[in-house]
Symmetry: C3
């Protein structure tokens, strides 16, 4: 364990073996940080909130939280969470393993996230979102939830396994982005999409099957992306993806 002398760590916090805590970082009471995790400088971990129901913040082992990040109490992140800088992560999130949260992303809490999900920079995840496994969400995408703002009606967005949402798209309340779909950049989309199709425009229209997009070097189809893009995924998983028809 290595705690910078300027860090302020509650003696109620549970801090695992070999955890590293950076300069000026504050760890509050209601927190468990599992072994081998790095928390960089200027973070606040376990901010208290009346909406958290007093539940702890759990950060799984081998995680890496970059500087200036803020996590509230009352969420669970399994092993190997990685964040960029200045992420804001609220209460009541239940996230799987190997989640990546890019710089400046803002997770509003009260949502579910699967395994191996990637949020690039500056992604906004509204409350009540349900995100599957192996999902990619690119910069400046917003997942909304209020069908007639302002109101107390929250219709979260669902994003299913292997779906990809490109830069600066708005996913409207209650939309379901189906397995393997691609939402093109600068789109707005509502309703239920069909699997493995491309949607683009504002309002978005169905364009064609994702299989029609060729790789830039013409060496084959660009989708499903799991057939050619494997960075950061475990060998076993890649083997399984490659053996699918």
């Amino acid at each position: 364990m290595s705690i910078h002398p300027t860090a302020i760590v509650s003696n109620k916090a549970i801090v695992g073996a070999n955890v590293k805590i950076g300069a000026y970082t504050i760890i509050y009471d209601n927190v468990e940080i599992a072994e081998n995790t790095v928390i960089e400088a200027f973070c606040e971990i376990g901010v208290s909130n009346h909406l958290s129901g007093g539940e702890i913040l759990y950060i799984g082992s081998n995680s890496h939280i970059r500087s200036h990040s803020i996590f509230y109490e009352g969420s669970v992140f399994l092993e190997s969470l990685v964040t960029g800088h200045r992420v804001t992560v609220r209460e009541k999130i239940k996230a799987g393993k190997n989640l990546q949260i890019g710089t400046l992303s803002d997770l509003q809490g009260h949502c579910e996230i699967g395994d191996y999900v990637r949020f690039h920079s500056n992604v906004h995840i509204g409350q009540k979102s349900k995100i599957g496994n192996y999902v990619w969400i690119f910069p400046y995408v917003v997942l909304t939830n209020d069908p007639h703002p302002p109101s107390d009606t929250l219709l979260g967005v669902t994003v299913k396994d292997f779906a990809v949402i490109a830069t600066m798209s708005v996913i409207l309340p209650g939309a379901i982005i189906s397995r393997g779909c691609l939402v093109g950049a600068h789109s707005s989309i509502k309703g239920i999409t069909e699997e493995d199709m491309i949607y683009a425009g504002s309002p978005a229209k169905k364009i064609c099957s994702t299989a029609k997009i060729k790789l830039h070097d013409k060496s084959g189809s660009a989708y499903p992306w799991r057939k050619h893009f494997h960075r950061g995924y475990p060998e076993e998983l890649v083997k399984q993806w490659m053996s699918e028809l």
Copy 2:
């Protein structure tokens, strides 16, 4: 008064009774913070700027500024200001009471804001904006001001009482969003709008009266929103709203 031992507070700053100042926060000289206000950790309050004309920053009573926020000198916020994290608030803002500024929002200064205004996360308010009372602005909305960038011509946006601007819309220079209007998500809009109408698209078109939008549970009309949405408003005000025809 409760000042964290790591906070750096100028002895020229005026700090009211029962104010709480968090760890590592810096309060500069030219600041008045009224009673019962909370300033969380890692903030900078009263940043000096040659554009502020040497005027103080005034933060009204019962306010709550969340961590990592930056306020310049030369602005006035009446009672019960509430901010999210990492807001950036520049000089020469004159704001009413009960303003809410969401996480990551960026107020460029030189603007007027009424009472009970809500900015959600990541809202950008350009200089020369004039915002009325009870306005709602949702994530990633930008209020622009330069009709032919770059230039020294600043035509601020006007947003009138009860108007709502949905996620990721751009309000073009000099636009007037009239009382009770709804600008749909992912729109860009210019010119003068009619009261209580919906505008959507890029470029935005007039769609219909807001009264035509039904609540999700079909229990009535979703607009004017003040007829059904009352969270955070005082009883007296709600009573008045409900008694209007």
Copy 3:
């Protein structure tokens, strides 16, 4: 030299004459900061990264980095860099002089930037971007790079001298924004543009010559902007611009 007592400055860092370093700021090992530069509070300068190849971060003389900013090692910024607050600047950037980077902007590294470039607030510059001289990029613009995300193919965007990209536009992978072009607000654009033309819409279309846009006060043409907008440029340069046909 003026280093705040709470700043943490590596004794391996090279810090020039008359440099000022603010409260709680961290300067890492692999950094050179030239004379007369100001680094404000809560910054991290020279964050180590395996992608930087061990190269230093060089910040030129007379620069001003505002608070809560993060710079990685392995980039070079010539004299008179100015930033807003909470900018995030990654490795392998080669930037000219008098660069301005607005609050919340996120430079992903591995890119080239000319002289006198202005990024307004919340600009996202993807890897492999090539930006010329005297370019203006306005809030919430994203320069992308992946033609079929996610993938390892990076086709950076090129933005040539005097080009202007207005608020909340997405520049698609491999696009070339030619000299003097104006991309209108809330546009998405791909391919190669013609010089001194306006493009707008999503997908963007060629509208007309920029010369057709009049100044708001009808005193002449608004473009090329260098004929009337001179704030922050040296006299010699302005003289040259005014003498061009």
